[in-house]
Assembly symmetry: C2
Homo-oligomer: 161 residues x 2
């Protein structure tokens, strides 16, 4: 069975227990920016309820033009004001570097990507760099950002100073 | 209390019940691309367990260069092969359009964003457009993509043909 068919089946059970709709504006006025890593169920990890927060995720949880687009919509259209970053230990982007990754893709597909993987070596430094990029964005209404690292081995979240 | 402090507090409870670590490679070899909407707890909605799937989210769940970057890393570095798209009803991006949004940001910040909001009017069409963009990407190893729309009023997921 394709994974999507398993998901559609599981969703039938979810819909039977569905607690009801919520407003489109996040109740806690916060947007979370996190890595796509499969070991981070953000609602459970952060104590979020349905309707509480926007959740933006990509490889690494890094700040790209698309992250800024999403945060700008989150703030201007849907009234969020806080931003929380969630990077994590043992990230796949710490196991490669931008040149090796471009080589890998070129060897497999014959095409070298014109964009960088955004690999990094120190997760705390990458959180600080992400905070810097958010503070410098001229499109946001609020630059209230704090960053964290999630330990995928213990489940503990730690703030980065 | 800042929202992040509430999250750090809730996380202490999560870590006490933490079920243990999982491998970095997603067990079900699937990447989900979804909207950032606060009403979509994807793990619960789709029956996902920790370690099952990559989760990529942005405003609209649209396919941008950053979405392709994340999917390319997901497939080449971490071995996923299926892609599942999750758009939803009552999306904030159906309540605006690209010109009105740029006007709004320019009025509030004095700066007009050089990127588009990626607003849309028909959610099924936008899912089909996203599937088309994924099928056309030269960097992916697998173009096995299927798309869905989640009803935020009923909790039901529906596949888009």
């Amino acid at each position: 069975m394709a994974e999507i068919d398993r998901m559609l089946q599981a969703n039938e059970e979810w819909a039977r227990r569905f607690p009801g709709s919520k407003p489109v504006r996040p109740a806690r006025r916060v947007a979370v920016v996190a890595c796509m890593d499969s070991r981070m169920p953000l609602f459970g990890m952060l104590g979020l309820e349905i309707g509480d927060a926007h959740v933006i995720r990509n490889a690494g949880g890094v700040i790209t033009e698309d992250t800024i687009r999403s945060l700008t919509i989150s703030q201007h259209v849907l009234d969020t004001r806080e931003i929380v970053l969630v990077h994590h230990t043992e990230c796949g982007l710490m196991a490669t570097d931008d040149v090796s990754f471009a080589d890998l893709v070129e060897q497999a597909t014959g095409r070298r990507p014109p964009w960088a993987a955004r690999a990094f070596t120190d997760v705390d430094d990458d959180v600080r760099e992400s905070m810097r990029l958010i503070r410098e964005s001229p499109y946001l209404l609020s630059h209230d950002v704090r960053g964290t690292v999630y330990d995928v081995g213990t489940g503990l979240l730690r703030e980065v100073a």
